[in-house]
Symmetry: C2
Subunit: 394 residues, 2 copies
């Protein structure tokens, strides 16, 4: 009696559960400290002290009915003003509270955008490798994901194929930079070429093609590299932001959408997104945490820990002969596998190493190794990586 | 470029905004203290002190990565165990953590149930008057709401019409008791008759008809009356619970779904609901607040304040000649209007009284008067109610 749409998802779920159970089993047999789990994108650096202090301060000083109460479905006005002002200062934009809709994390932000813009069979273009949960979000509103093949040279978008795959049905293009799973940041030059194509295609088809920039990793950037703010390059851009990684608050479900005034029909779109936020059941972003991020607008987690992890693991893996682009952001390495990626993950498990196969991101022949883990686990895992490398050298 | 489904909602939104703006205008002209706003279902009693203390204690004593981190999409296991145990103790049920899925409030709980069970054109039966946002939840998954006419005698379900309107397309029946907007609690006897019909119809059509019990007002009951726990009467029952009113935490978005083992195909349904929680973008219920409700499992707001409000307002309104059933729960009076309910609301506004017309709940000829307001506002409003009554006596 499950809905037809959900049946396949429920069937597939047993595969995921199996993976999870296997990991649990390994831990039981070998002990937690001898299993090297690089499979999860769960922040390993604690939230800044200021965050917990801010929560306590809010509870002590602010009106309890307000702190825990309903507000506009788009969020507290002062929170949205603070965020708009901060974005304006950092990126020389010109947003007001009206351009910001607070959301239950980035996942619901993407859902309410898709609910607001997609008609059945509309297409959303993504660039492989990509977070395949996007497929479920888009399918929820009867849209269709069109994936562009990976450009394994540098994991920037393959723009030639992109241009060819835009059709009259293309409603949106979704980018995620810094990228999960590659850690790559799209260069400004790439963005310029991409939006040049989109502008041309908008004209050709006489309707808007939205750009959606999913940016949970915006603040996790290691080498003084700038991540372009996409509303400055293309009018019809949604920004989707989350504090999950910035402040290590993934369980709290807090993020926002930016809808610029320059977007075509922006007023109605803001209304549609706000209503969607309500009727998909979120109603509003959690109130206490909204007020908390306002008080922590300039905070971020200590990313030097992630940087250290990246450097350690990248050096060791390349030293062992693995091929991998040095990622500039996020907390993942995307490593080429000498054999089929699923086979490689199975073999790695024999050395108590857990990864996610690239095929789970629409890019086989690679694995995602998440380095949002304790640094000493990375150091302890080196011997296992050495054995794995050796196995494939035979 | 808004999706077709959203267009109508965006158009209607201007009507709601107009109402809101009118209220704001009244406040500007007459001052906050001279506008008597009975239109909102926003708790007016503060969260128990224990709640804010619990939050501080969690921040001080528990591991920050856990408190703010991801957990299973169904919620923290210890939170779910605590809730299951508490329900078992209160209602002599036999749930475990596996039967509980923590949600982003009741609204998202209803959404993930509908996503899990509805195929296009499936019907969900509701009893007017009802919270019309249900229409949007059901439409989100291409289902159709079938409303049973109000039984204005006592606002219990009209079971004759109910039986006649169950078809082969009926997938679920949604009840809300204590009820918004009437405050009525369905009697045990009514429930028994209702499920007797449903059992018969399940057999007739050879498929399950789910009962969904939306219970945000369960703890807001005034006269020592018992609210039946519906899983005990019918196997295919979902319970939808929210802490919005129980603990005055509506902005925090915290609630849960109960799926009993006795439900047909319960394992797959639990999986479907858990996946739906993830893919509609909620991912999980907010983590810190999950841990907070666990620590406050036996707390509830001081309902004597609501009771006092109810008694005050009910006495005055009946004294003035208005007709209204004395509600046993929730925080609303549903009052018969001497003229068309929208016209009555417009006239009331001239006396600075704000209500919601019954037609917004599928039951014209009535207004909803929400008494979740400060008691002194109620006392101050009596003169305006007197003038309104007098106007219609002429």
């Amino acid at each position: 009696m499950i809905s037809d749409k959900m049946k396949k998802l429920v069937e597939n779920n047993s595969v995921i559960r199996e993976m999870f159970e296997e990991g649990k089993n390994l831990r039981k047999i070998y002990g937690d400290e001898n299993v090297f789990d690089f499979s999860l994108g769960n922040p390993s650096v604690e939230t800044p002290e200021k965050v917990n202090e801010a929560i306590k301060e809010i509870l002590e000083k602010e009106d309890s009915l307000k702190v825990h109460g309903y507000m506009s479905n788009s969020g507290f006005e002062d929170v949205r003003t603070t965020i708009a002002t901060s974005i304006n200062k950092r990126f020389e934009t010109d947003f007001s509270e009206n351009n910001i809709i607070m959301t239950v994390g980035a996942a619901s932000a993407l859902n309410i955008i898709f609910k607001s813009i997609l008609n059945p069979d509309d297409e959303v273009i993504v660039f492989a490798p990509y977070f395949m949960e996007y497929n479920n979000y888009v399918a929820g509103y009867d849209g269709r994901v069109v994936a562009i093949s990976p450009n394994t040279e540098n994991f920037e978008p393959n723009l030639e194929e992109f241009e060819n795959k835009i059709t009259n049905k293309t409603k949106a293009v979704l980018v995620n930079t810094p990228n999960n799973p590659t850690g790559v940041i799209y260069k400004e030059d790439t963005i310029k070429k991409m939006v040049e194509i989109m502008n041309r295609k908008q004209e050709e088809y006489s309707h808007e093609i939205f750009l959606i920039s999913d940016e949970p990793y915006r603040e996790l950037v290691y080498d003084d590299i700038e991540v372009p703010y996409l509303t400055k390059y293309y009018n019809n851009t949604f920004i989707v932001y989350s504090y999950s990684k910035t402040l290590s608050l993934p369980g709290e479900r807090i993020g926002y959408v930016v809808v610029p005034d320059e977007m075509e029909d922006s007023k109605n779109i803001i209304t549609a997104i706000t209503i969607s936020n309500r009727i998909i059941g979120c109603v509003n972003a959690p109130s206490l945490i909204q007020r908390t991020v306002m008080k922590c607008i300039n905070e971020k987690v200590d990313i030097s820990i992630y940087k250290k992890n990246r450097d350690l693991l990248y050096s060791k893996l390349t030293e062992l002969g693995f091929e991998c682009i040095k990622p500039e952001g996020a907390f993942y390495l995307f490593v080429k596998t000498p054999v089929d990626d699923k086979e490689f993950c199975s073999k790695a498990k024999e050395f108590n190493l857990l990864f996610v196969p690239g095929s789970s991101f629409g890019c086989s022949g690679y694995v995602r190794i998440a380095y949002c883990v304790k640094t000493d686990m990375i150091e302890k895992s080196f011997e296992a990586f050495r054995k794995l490398a050796e196995y494939y050298k035979k």
